[in-house]
């Protein structure tokens, strides 16, 4: 069941839209903001609210890599693996992250603190290698600097 807050926010988003289904991705983002991810049940509820079928909404949800259809940790690390970062040191960053957190790409730490995901270019090429944690970008990273950065995310 969607919470009252989720429902109200989605309805507010949908009200001015020409078609309800055009706010599909916004509605998914709203749910994700509240829950960290979009579970099957919430997906079905949002679909019903927008007059879509679950298959139609899931088609939207699974198209965007920023919509999580599986639970994620408290913080999501999006590690850029596109060309600039790759040249400037993506691999050492990845190795450090994997060894420090004890997880591989696509996985979540046992304590639920971090989920590590790859991403395409963050638009931060001038500060490559870069990554993004939650809503913050971090550039010019080295494995050493990384340790500090992670400390800020409890």
């Amino acid at each position: 069941m969607l919470s009252v807050a989720e429902r109200l926010e989605i309805e507010a988003e949908a009200a001015p839209a020409e078609t309800k289904r055009s706010v599909a991705s916004d509605a998914l983002k709203i749910v994700q903001r509240h829950r960290g991810w979009v579970c099957d049940e919430a997906l079905k509820d949002v679909a019903a609210l927008l007059g879509l079928s679950p298959a139609e909404l899931d088609s939207v949800a699974t198209f965007y890599n920023g919509i999580y259809r599986r639970p994620v940790g408290r913080h999501v690390i999006l590690l850029c693996d596109s060309v600039s970062c790759w040249i400037m040191g993506y691999n050492p960053l990845r190795e450090r992250l994997e060894s420090r957190l004890g997880i591989g790409l696509g996985q979540t730490t046992a304590d639920g603190r971090f989920t590590l995901l790859p991403t395409a270019c963050l638009g931060l090429c001038e500060q490559a290698p870069a990554l993004m944690i939650d809503d913050n970008v971090h550039g010019d990273l080295t494995p050493e600097k990384l340790d500090q950065v992670l400390e800020n995310y409890a």
């Binding site: 078609t19 289904r21 019903a48 079928s53 298959a55 899931d58 088609s59 699974t62």
Partner: protein, 941 residues
């Protein structure tokens, strides 16, 4: 006509409305493709159809273009065999197949796989990819369609068919990048009644026929012949395929005018009755000691004695061929032949056919339905009464927005652009029915009313269109306004269409529908009138003179007759059991049929009759199109076509019939309406380049071994006296006339896509015309007078309900229910009621009740149908094991106490339990074309 130069040769072709790929294919040139489909055209998703296009003679470099995305211009220079284009195509298929498992030997698609064909055609024979492949978890999609997603090449055809073309909403594309999958949101039965078409639409082995899996056979090992679907009145064309004496599957047989490339799931999966363990295989005699098998000779002798010593009447069947019905009529005498349906049904079907013959509105083929642009559906839930008509109507509602989009200069074959331009726009379609239908979500307006009120609405629309049409007395202002609105909507169409039929069981509804179509015609429109009919030969048999079952009952009860021959008919499904008892009380009862049913269990003599796959015969569909269905295989044991049994019972001196052609000649002679019937397909002595047409492919394997357990000598193939087909591999491999095509195959084209080679234009008619012949054309001259019998408005009665038949695509057809997959989707016995009636009758949802109509009654559970008009109930028609009710009729509903589990609701058309509350008294309006819940097709919420 446009001139174009391809690979240095000059061609001329009619290229209007067609892209380069279509034109090349029609010219017989092989351009590989995946995502283009003749029914839903181009999106340019696969990049497989790349060719070189040159600016002019001087241009030697040219540029790569996707053939499916460019129009043909006069003087165009194209190279399919340009080295760069060839290399490009080979690379494309290599990319598409990077993750493909290369598991052809264990893939059901193997041997008829478009991906195999295209791989060979592009010359991609060596794969460079050496890494691990991505794999998917497959979904269980229910009994009809099997999924093996790893074989996907991301052409998007499946979703374009299922979602865009067939309107299914429980199937979509999911994921992104390398992880794209196609399917449902979660495991579960595919809701669309057209789901089986994924099997051919998908060019790979992702979606395959699950029923075939249980008795798998490769295409080249199947014996096939052109046949007709026996499961509803539309007469879709089919290819049943047989191996080792059992039917393995049914595939659509392309007919540009009828079913096109598709079949509904009832038609595709309903075939398993042919293999049923309940088949009658040998003649059975029954006396006071019980049934005993007798030889064919004994059976004929027994029947002969009955015919000589008794006053015999014959009861025909709307699911038997014309030949069988006619043979029975000839055997017992024309005045002793009765139709195997109640008076109610016979009158209704005769009314339908009379209206089509009488008026100036033409009865459209399904193809023509697709091109209509303003639609009134009166009283018909087409999904459940004539399934493929729903698919055609889904295309028809797009005609108007498509016409607008074309004005923007979009090519008509650019599917994605057209859909982008059309968005959610739909042409006018008014769905006026007693309860919800699957087409409601596309309707510009929905109206819910009892049949009498639907008829009155129809008559009022006709009057609004043409003031000389009879006015409807005492109409409410609301209905009047509604009628005027509908009339205005229909007037906007260039090709308006009125759809009605047997669904409501009301002649008045059909007459009203005809009046609307005629009023449109009289006021200058070219309107069509499409009626559904109950069974595969309802239209044909109704054209045979003769009275109904009710009259036959009278004959037996008053003693004018004391013996009965029942042709392919379970009378208990037709009439209430009292009358059937009277009939079967005759001294001798001879039953010819496929399956042991209650009627057969009461017969004194049972003769095993061929199914549609085991005998040849003619059927007339709802359009009035006579179509020949040919025997696919020789049935085991003593099974033979009913007409042959009956012919063998005719006295030796008069027995004139050796083969089907003799029956047809006699039929044409005896019944003027059937004068043309012999000519609808070549006769048995037709030869193609001097030979018969082989039912088996040139690769048919194992035939010297397949009966080796019985005898090491290879038996001589049986001789077919009825058709120019051979039960063997030997024969002519030339293209036969379209009515004799046993399978679609062409060199390099092993999949169904070979059909392109049988058409002059892809998606058009088969080369020498689509099979079948229309027997009904509108009369010339003065317009016919309107029907004037306008019923009084519906008035609900205290303590009773008007009980209407609820038809179910899975459940109402007798034969298809023998397929386990179809039986699993049939609803349980229920009665659907409006909540007001529920309160009025003191009933609760899910409660077990006794529904009684006349002397018959059935126990069923209550379903809530919020849209159903107050005072009206619906209960499924044709479910097995339930006493037949002569619907529509007034009935009583009383609690039997206690609560029973609700009826199964996953069948299409079961009214969903939850829904918007609408006042069922008044005609309601719904202009929200996009609404509709995921379960809109009637699935349980």
């Amino acid at each position: 006509m446009t001139t174009l130069h391809v690979d240095g040769k000059t061609y001329t072709a009619d290229t209007a409305g067609r892209n380069l790929l279509e034109v090349c294919l029609s010219l017989g040139l092989n351009v590989p493709y995946f995502c283009w489909h003749p029914a839903f055209r181009s999106v340019g998703a696969c990049r497989q159809c790349a060719v070189k296009v040159f600016k002019d003679e001087k241009d030697v470099r040219g540029r790569l273009e996707m053939a499916c995305l460019i129009p043909v211009t006069d003087g165009m220079r194209v190279a399919i065999d340009d080295p760069e284009a060839v290399a490009f195509r080979a690379k494309v298929i290599e990319w598409l197949m990077v993750n493909h498992p290369h598991d052809c030997p264990v893939c059901d698609e193997g041997g008829e796989c478009h991906l195999q064909d295209m791989t060979v055609m592009t010359g991609h024979v060596y794969r460079a990819y050496r890494f691990s492949k991505r794999t998917h978890r497959d979904q269980d999609l229910g009994p009809f369609v099997n999924m093996e997603m790893n074989r996907c090449i991301q052409c998007y055809r499946c979703v374009r068919f299922y979602r865009d073309y067939a309107g299914g909403r429980d199937f979509d594309v999911h994921g992104w990048h390398d992880h794209v999958t196609f399917g449902r949101h979660e495991d579960g039965i595919l809701e669309s009644p057209f789901s089986g078409n994924l099997v051919e639409v998908c060019p790979t082995g992702v979606f395959t026929d699950k029923s075939l899996k249980h008795h798998y056979t490769r295409k080249w090992d199947l014996q096939t012949a052109p046949s007709v679907c026996p499961h509803c009145g539309l007469g879709c064309n089919t290819f049943p395929g047989e191996r080792y004496g059992t039917l393995r599957r049914v595939m659509p047989r392309y007919n540009g005018e009828v079913n096109g490339y598709f079949l509904c799931d009832r038609g595709r999966y309903g075939y398993e009755f042919v293999n049923s363990r309940n088949r009658i295989r040998r003649p059975l005699q029954r006396d006071h000691t019980g049934p005993v098998e007798v030889s064919k000779e004994e059976a004929l002798a027994l029947a002969g004695t009955v015919l000589q010593s008794r006053k015999v009447i014959g009861i025909g069947s709307p699911r038997a061929s014309l030949e069988a019905n006619f043979a029975l009529r000839a055997l017992v005498g024309p005045d002793r032949f009765y139709h195997g349906v109640t008076d109610k049904e016979l009158r209704l079907v005769r009314t339908l056919s009379a209206l089509l013959k009488r008026g100036q509105a033409r009865t459209p083929s399904l193809r023509e339905v697709e091109s209509c642009d303003a639609i009134l559906i009166l009283g018909e839930d087409v999904t459940n009464t004539a399934p493929l008509l729903e698919l055609a109507l889904r295309q028809a509602v797009l005609q108007k927005p498509k016409a607008d989009a074309l004005k923007l200069g979009i090519y008509e074959w650019l599917d994605e652009c057209l859909r982008e331009a059309m968005q959610d726009q739909r042409g006018p379609m008014i769905v006026a029915t007693p309860d919800r239908t699957a087409l409601d979500s596309l309707a510009s307006r929905t109206v819910r009313a009892a049949p009498a009120d639907l008829a009155r609405l129809g008559f009022a629309v006709a009057h609004a269109l043409d003031p000389t049409a009879p006015p409807v007395p005492s109409l409410t202002p609301d209905t009047l306004a509604l009628a005027e609105g509908i009339a205005a909507a229909l007037r906007t169409g260039r090709r308006p269409l009125v759809v009605s039929g047997y669904g409501c069981g009301s002649e008045a509804v059909a007459e009203a529908a005809a009046n609307v179509a005629w009023a449109l015609c009289r006021t200058g429109s070219t309107a069509s009138l499409c009626f559904t009919v109950p069974e595969c030969n309802s239209m044909g048999t109704a054209m045979l003179p003769g009275e109904s079952l009710d009259a036959a009952v009278a004959e037996i009860s008053n003693g004018t007759a004391d013996a009965l021959i029942v042709l392919e008919n379970d009378l208990y499904r037709r009439a209430e059991s009292g009358s059937v008892e009277t009939l079967l009380g005759a001294r001798q009862v001879i039953v010819l049929d496929h399956l042991a049913h209650v009627t057969a269990s009461r017969a004194t003599l049972v003769l095993p009759a061929a199914t549609i796959a085991e005998g040849s015969g003619t059927f007339i569909n709802n359009e009035g199109r006579a179509q020949r269905s040919f025997q696919v295989f020789v049935p085991p044991d003593d099974i033979q076509a009913s007409w042959r049994w009956l012919a063998e019972l005719m006295p030796h001196s008069t027995r004139p019939w050796k083969g089907l052609d003799d029956v047809l000649a006699a039929l044409a002679d005896a019944v003027p309406a059937f004068k043309e019937i012999p000519d609808i397909a070549p006769s048995a002595d037709f030869r193609l380049t001097g030979q018969k047409v082989p039912r088996q492919s040139s690769r048919y394997s194992g035939r010297t071994a397949m009966t080796a357990d019985l005898s090491v000598q290879e038996p001589k193939p049986p001789v077919d006296l009825d058709a120019p087909f051979a039960f063997s591999m030997e024969g002519s491999r030339a293209h036969p006339p379209s009515s004799l095509i046993p399978r679609f195959w062409a060199p390099q084209w092993n999949s169904v896509q070979a059909v392109n080679k049988y058409q002059f234009k892809t998606g058009g008619a088969l080369r020498d015309g689509d099979p079948g012949r229309r027997l009904i054309e509108p009369p010339e001259g003065e317009p016919t007078p309107y029907s004037v019998s306008i019923p009084a408005a519906f008035v609900a009665r205290p303590y009773r309900c008007l009980v209407l038949p609820a038809w179910h695509i899975f459940g109402s057809d007798e034969l298809s229910l023998h397929s386990p997959g179809i039986a699993a989707r049939a609803p349980g016995p229920y009665v659907a009621l409006n909540p007001v009636d529920l309160g009025r009758l003191g009933l609760a949802e899910g409660q077990a009740v006794t529904l009684s109509v006349g002397v018959a009654s059935r126990v069923c559970s209550v379903i809530v149908a919020p849209d159903l008009p107050v005072g009206v109930a619906r209960t499924p028609a044709g479910l097995p094991g339930l006493p037949a009710l002569a619907l529509p009729a007034w009935g009583g509903i009383a609690a039997v106490g206690g609560h029973s589990p609700p009826a199964s609701q996953h069948a299409a058309g079961v009214p969903p339990v939850a829904g918007n509350e609408q006042d069922a008294h008044t005609a309601t309006e719904n202009t929200n074309a996009t609404s509709g819940s995921p379960g809109e097709r009637g699935g349980a919420p």
